[in-house]
């Protein structure tokens, strides 16, 4: 059940509606614990990457999604391995929520041949098609039409699979997104557009970039069914995802979710980017950390069943040691051989 708020005008970042307590809606505790575990796993991975980048162990940029975990986890609950998910520069959460192996992600970030793209991509170019992750690249909005095309392919093949395009509020300023929305709507292509509106594109607040602050207005403009949700509320994201993914899968056309959220790290790497741009103050960050999707979910669970407090703490500790060990293993892996530089520019087989 979505929160009834009018996010279509005004400063959504200040909305008090995003502070409401989670209503667990009678969902199974076991299921929610499982979802919480995935969100924690993503957070621990992102924090690990931040720390390693800060220490200089990672050579390239990492765009971290700590604080945004509920979106990917809520959506992925309704996805299949045969769906076609595309993402952008801030994609680790989208990937991991599909069940991808953190160690293979770490190896990729470290440029090792055992990585998700065999050391050819790094953090910004990830691939795990067996888990439904068709690819992420850092050209803003670059993969949005690709997800439309992958959805079109599913439609032509007569499967009930769907395309998923994750992108940010900044991408909504790219022309290709508008063409993609129109095309998908006109051709009734099974694709779910997911805009993670974290209010910032690089250093610029959305109020400095768009005259109106809801990105879902572009879905309306193209006749696409859409919902705006509190992206830091797993239950809210789940409810919208269940309904809209079911709609897309039924072949009636595309759908659009705008999930309002906030990144706890800055645009890139471990820093918090306080006052790098305008409107990202330490006060705002504190407000948003208070809306932490993981904390909100665990608090709601513990309130319902106080015995879960220690279970959740144990789970966190287990995940931490699992992620530490995945990192240590990844660091031991080999770099790609020189031959891989030219070896994959063209396909090995012709057809």
């Amino acid at each position: 059940m979505s929160i009834e708020i009018d996010l279509r005008s005004g400063f959504i970042s200040k909305s008090k509606h995003l502070d409401v307590k989670l209503d667990l809606q009678g969902q199974l505790e076991e299921d929610l614990l499982e979802q919480l575990k995935m969100m924690q796993l993503i957070r621990i991975c992102e924090n690990k990457l931040a720390e390693m980048r800060k220490q200089g162990k990672i050579g390239g940029p990492v765009h971290l999604g700590a604080g945004q975990e509920a979106i990917a986890v809520g959506i992925s609950k309704y996805l299949r391995k045969s769906d076609r998910i595309f993402s952008a520069h801030r994609s680790h959460a989208h990937l991991l929520a599909l069940g991808s192996d953190p160690k293979a992600l770490f190896a990729e970030v470290l440029g090792r041949s055992t990585g998700l793209t065999k050391g050819m991509g790094g953090s910004m170019h990830l691939w795990d098609q067996p888990n439904g992750f068709y690819g992420s690249v850092p050209i803003v909005a670059g993969t949005v039409p690709l997800a439309v095309g992958a959805g079109l392919a599913a439609k032509l093949e007569g499967t009930k699979d769907i395309g998923v395009a994750y992108f940010g509020d900044g991408a909504a300023e790219e022309g290709i997104v508008h063409e993609s929305l129109n095309l998908a709507s006109q051709l009734k292509i099974p694709v779910l557009f997911v805009c993670e509106n974290n209010l910032f594109s690089s250093h610029m607040h959305i109020s400095q970039r768009q005259p109106l602050q809801s990105v879902a207005r572009f879905a309306d403009a193209n006749g696409i069914r859409n919902q705006i949700v509190d992206g830091n509320n797993l239950l809210d994201v789940q409810a919208a995802s269940e309904e809209l993914i079911d709609f897309v899968r039924s072949g009636e056309g595309p759908a659009f979710i705008e999930a309002v959220t906030y990144r706890q790290y800055g645009h890139v790497d471990w820093r918090e980017d306080i006052d790098v741009g305008v409107n990202r103050s330490s006060e705002d960050l504190a407000v948003w950390k208070n809306r932490d999707p993981i904390r909100r979910l665990s608090e709601a669970l513990i309130e319902l069943n106080p015995k879960l407090e220690s279970a959740i703490a144990n789970q966190t500790n287990q995940l931490r040691s699992q992620i530490e060990s995945a990192w240590s293993q990844a660091e031991l892996d080999p770099f790609p051989s020189p031959s891989s530089l030219l070896g994959t520019v063209y396909s090995a087989v012709s057809k």
Partner: protein
């Protein structure tokens, strides 16, 4: 089809499409004007009626999204062809071509490819002016990961289209409306591997090597005919595949003739004619050249609209022949 019946270039492309759509269910075609006789000459006539509008998709005015969608469908295992009835408009689609399709295989460690075919039509002349005229094939040859194909004959138009669509790599397939009345007696379709295709000698000769791609390859043979009447023996080479570029045949020819003339429908600066000359000359001893290589390209100006200016803008076979005659004598 009776063996003696000749087929024009546009119809040959249509035959290529019909072959692909009949034999490969994963082939579909997307682009503007595909249900209309206005956009693509006779190269796709009634394909929508024969194969259905689900597979021959006429689209909103969105070159960028349509190209991106074709790339995405290719990544998902289809064999799409995206048609740009004029190459000029295709510039809206550069991100999907250059950043996504071209790099997909490399970025993803060779685990996935974007086997899309981008059909780019050169449509110029007729006082259409600067934005309805361009031959931008050279741009795409700069990009590792793209294959660039320019057929000059009806047979190649059909068979290289088929090879391009069946290839797992992204291919820029450039055809030229000025070639649509060229015709061939088409042999039976034989699927060829695009990787094995490259420059080919079209007329043997001894005194000068003339090289071109697409319509420029036809100009080369026209020039050779004029030179032959003057008693000059020219060898002509049709480049066919511009990227990856295999210059071996041209090097061999220049070692024999000692003279190299490259005709290209684009501009000189950083254009494909320059690439041919650089690739060839760095592989031969300069002493084996009897004269400096020559680039024959467009003047460095956008295409004019006025017919008076068009006459001096586009390359004419007689002018090239005169230039060669002067360099030989």
């Amino acid at each position: 089809m009776s063996p003696e019946k000749s087929t024009d270039y546009g119809s040959a492309i249509r035959e290529g499409f019909a072959y692909l759509l009949t034999n490969y269910p994963e082939v579909f075609v997307i682009g503007q004007g595909l249900w209309s006789p206005w956009y693509v000459g006779n190269s796709m006539t009634d394909l929508d009626k024969e194969f259905g509008i689900d597979r021959i998709i006429d689209t909103p005015v969105s070159e960028s999204a349509c190209t991106g969608a074709a790339v995405g469908a290719a990544i998902a295992g289809m064999k799409p062809v995206v048609v740009h009835p004029r190459m000029d408009f295709m510039l809206y689609a550069m991100d999907s071509i250059v950043n996504e399709a071209a790099k997909w295989s490399s970025m993803m460690g060779g685990q996935a490819t974007a086997g899309v075919t981008v059909r780019a039509i050169i449509n110029r002349g007729g006082e259409q002016g600067a934005q309805h005229s361009q031959s931008l094939h050279s741009w795409f040859t700069h990009i590792p990961g793209l294959r660039v194909v320019m057929p000059s004959t009806a047979t190649d138009a059909r068979d290289l289209l088929i090879a391009s669509v069946l290839c797992k790599d992204p291919v820029i397939f450039v055809d030229d409306r000025w070639l649509y009345s060229e015709s061939d007696i088409l042999p039976e379709v034989k699927e060829v591997d695009l990787k094995d295709q490259g420059p080919r000698i079209t007329n043997e000769g001894t005194q000068v090597t003339l090289v071109g791609a697409g319509y420029s390859a036809k100009l080369c043979t026209d020039v050779a005919k004029i030179l032959a009447s003057d008693g000059i023996s020219a060898e002509t080479i049709d480049i066919r595949v511009l990227n990856p570029f295999n210059s071996g045949v041209i090097v061999e020819s220049v070692l024999k003739t000692g003279r190299l003339v490259v005709i290209d429908g684009g501009w000189s600066n950083s254009g494909f004619a320059s690439e041919v000359i650089a690739s060839v000359t760095e592989q031969i001893d300069p002493i084996s050249l009897k004269s400096s290589p020559i680039r024959v390209t467009l003047p460095s100006a956008p295409a004019p609209a006025s017919s008076a200016l068009e006459k001096i803008y586009y390359t004419r076979a007689e002018d090239v022949a005169a230039k060669i005659r002067a360099s030989i004598s």
